[in-house]
């Protein structure tokens, strides 16, 4: 094995572009590993972790490009690093309009701008957000790793100026029907959304679309907005704006449980809202859900979407999304093919919210799991790279994505994990999510089909049967095509649902049935 790198001074590329470059190189024959990163301190640590270092790398700065390759032989290494320009060229899209060099220059040319979308490394993100707010512009802050004190300062400043900061760590927004970040193509309609999680907003908006209704606007807040350190500043700004916005008839709030002080502060404001509100605080106890609130409380994203659609339509009948339909015949068929000793569920998720919601649904069914993002009452997975009994793992968490592409963009890591799970003789169910939409992988199902088939074959060789359960978050308006993705997965023998809550409920029923033994249900 040989290792080498090329460093290019003062050549900056964005992280998504560099992920594409690294992926292209690593797909070549005899290449063992490839990394394309900017020379930040964090990235240099990541390179050291995979055994790539040296004086040259130490001397590189955040504005310098590092491309490192591990290969079987020197010939491959030279071919890869010697042709860097062609890898960079191949990974760039068609040439667009000449870009601007600074925010000021862009604003001079486009003075009616009203939003800055920021996806620069976290250490610079707060500075760029502040500069945007100072110029009277709203901010969509995709970047993560922004210190909490900076988030608070930005949001307080935005509130003072009548602006909003969506983020940091904001994955999704839909403003006037236009998707920002990882959003789906959904119909416009009467339902406004305020969401702390990107995939939560994606799931809710696609379910509303499937039910025939639509979205006025979906405003992201960032994952920490409802923590007591921030106090829900962006949520309250969004609530005020959606309350006064005439197209919005119902407002849905999607988040993890707020901090205690924040909850005490926001509850009266939600209750005083002149429009109906549906709130889904994922992971919240049943007690909260059963308390008497003047707004509607939903346990899952499915219930929230169904309730919002029902209220918006003025209908008494809940749309079909309300109760996950567990097909008993299908369940019994999958179970009958298994052999004794197969008992565990393994969830391998691209969306953190889906991992979290699945834990809640399994917990409500009395099934405790281990996870790298454990819900209260569940145990933390000692090693996120290795499953233990019932395990649900969020493959979009930092420990998987700090040096590799996010699973919504690239399925390589999920593919490996699925094959590893199939080696466990006690695995019974594999739970997966597939997320479509702008900026996501062009074929999420297609990327994992071979792994699903091989995993099923592997378990089959041992005389057992692997039940693969999948949910697809998307619409037929998405460029990947919802129906096409569902069909691909069904063709590979997966049980497919249009929502994560339904897929998790199916898994819960199957695990319960396995626990009851061969005669159970």
């Amino acid at each position: 094995m040989v290792t080498g790198c090329v460093i290019r001074k003062k050549e900056y590329h964005d992280s998504v572009f560099l992920m594409r470059v690294a992926r292209r190189i690593s797909e070549q024959k005899s290449v063992l590993q490839a990394a394309a990163l900017m020379g930040t301190e964090k990235n240099k640590v990541l390179l050291a972790d995979i055994g790539i270092g040296g004086k040259e790398i130490e001397a590189a700065g955040p504005g310098d490009l590092i491309v490192a390759v591990k290969a079987d032989d020197g010939e491959t290494l030279s071919a890869m690093l010697g042709n860097l320009d062609s890898w960079l060229q191949l990974s760039s899209g068609p040439p667009g309009a000449t870009p601007f060099c600074t925010l000021e220059e862009a604003l001079r040319r486009q003075p009616h701008s009203n939003l800055v979308v920021i996806s620069v490394p976290g250490e610079y993100a707060a500075r760029e957000a502040r500069r945007s707010l100072e110029r009277g512009l709203n901010v969509f802050l995709f970047s993560d790793h922004v210190p909490v004190k900076d988030e608070l300062a930005l949001k307080e400043y935005a509130r003072e100026k009548g602006l909003i900061v969506m983020g940091p760590d904001c994955g999704t927004a839909l403003i006037g029907g236009k998707g920002i970040g990882f959003a789906n193509a959904v119909r416009r309609g009467p339902i406004g959304v305020i969401g702390a999680s990107g995939t939560g907003v994606q799931e809710f908006t696609t379910l509303v679309h499937h039910s025939g209704s639509g979205i006025s606007h979906a405003i992201g807040t960032g994952s920490r907005d409802l923590a007591d350190e921030i106090g829900g500043i962006s949520l309250l700004s969004a609530l005020g704006s959606l309350e006064s916005e005439p197209q919005t008839k119902v407002i849905a709030i999607l988040a993890k449980p707020p901090g205690k002080r924040t909850l005490a502060n926001i509850l009266p404001k939600i209750q005083a809202c002149s429009k109906p509100v549906v709130a889904c605080f994922l992971g919240e106890t049943k007690n909260f859900q059963q308390e008497d609130h003047s707004f509607q409380v939903a346990r899952t994203l499915n219930e929230a979407a169904a309730a919002a659609v029902q209220i918006a339509a003025g209908s008494e009948k809940l749309p079909i999304l309300a109760e996950p339909q567990v097909s008993r015949i299908r369940l019994q068929g999958e179970k009958a093919a298994m052999k004794p000793g197969q008992k565990y569920i393994r969830g391998v998720f691209a969306g953190g919210t889906f991992c979290y919601q699945s834990q809640q649904i399994l917990r409500d069914a009395g099934i405790r799991v281990s996870s790298n993002i454990p819900l209260e009452g569940n145990s933390e997975l000692p090693n996120p790279h290795s499953s233990l009994k019932h395990t649900l793992v969020d493959m979009g968490a930092d420990e998987f994505t700090s040096s590799c592409p996010h699973p919504m963009i690239d399925s390589s890591q999920r593919r490996e994990r699925i094959l590893a799970e199939a080696q466990d003789p006690e695995i019974a169910v594999l739970l997966l999510d597939f997320i479509l939409g702008f900026n996501a992988s062009a074929d999420p199902a297609g990327e994992l089909l071979q792994a699903i088939t091989r995993a099923k074959e592997e378990v089959g060789k041992r005389g057992g049967f692997l039940c693969v359960v999948a949910s697809v978050c998307g619409t037929d308006e998405d460029f990947q095509g919802f129906a096409k993705q569902v069909k691909l997965l069904q063709g590979a023998g997966a049980v497919v649902f249009p929502s994560n809550a339904q897929s998790a409920a199916f898994c819960a029923a199957l695990i319960q049935s396995l626990q009851e033994g061969p005669d159970g249900r």
Binding site: G96, P99, Y124, N439
Partner: protein, 57 residues
């Protein structure tokens, strides 16, 4: 007070994109007006220099 947020909702986004170019492309594909800034770390990423710059501007 929150007129600027309402303006964003009422008129739709007119975007300046700093960072990932794909985000600008996907917005353009939806007929959103976008100005993409070819962002690089200010002052080559030198923290002291950035602070100095911020004080001057």
């Amino acid at each position: 007070m929150a007129d600027k947020i309402r303006e964003l909702l009422d008129h739709g986004p007119v975007v300046i994109n700093l960072g990932v170019k794909d985000f600008a492309e996907s917005l353009k594909g939806q007929d959103v007006e976008v100005a993409h800034v070819d962002w690089t770390p200010p002052a080559g990423g030198d923290r002291e220099m950035i602070e100095l710059l911020d004080q001057l501007l």
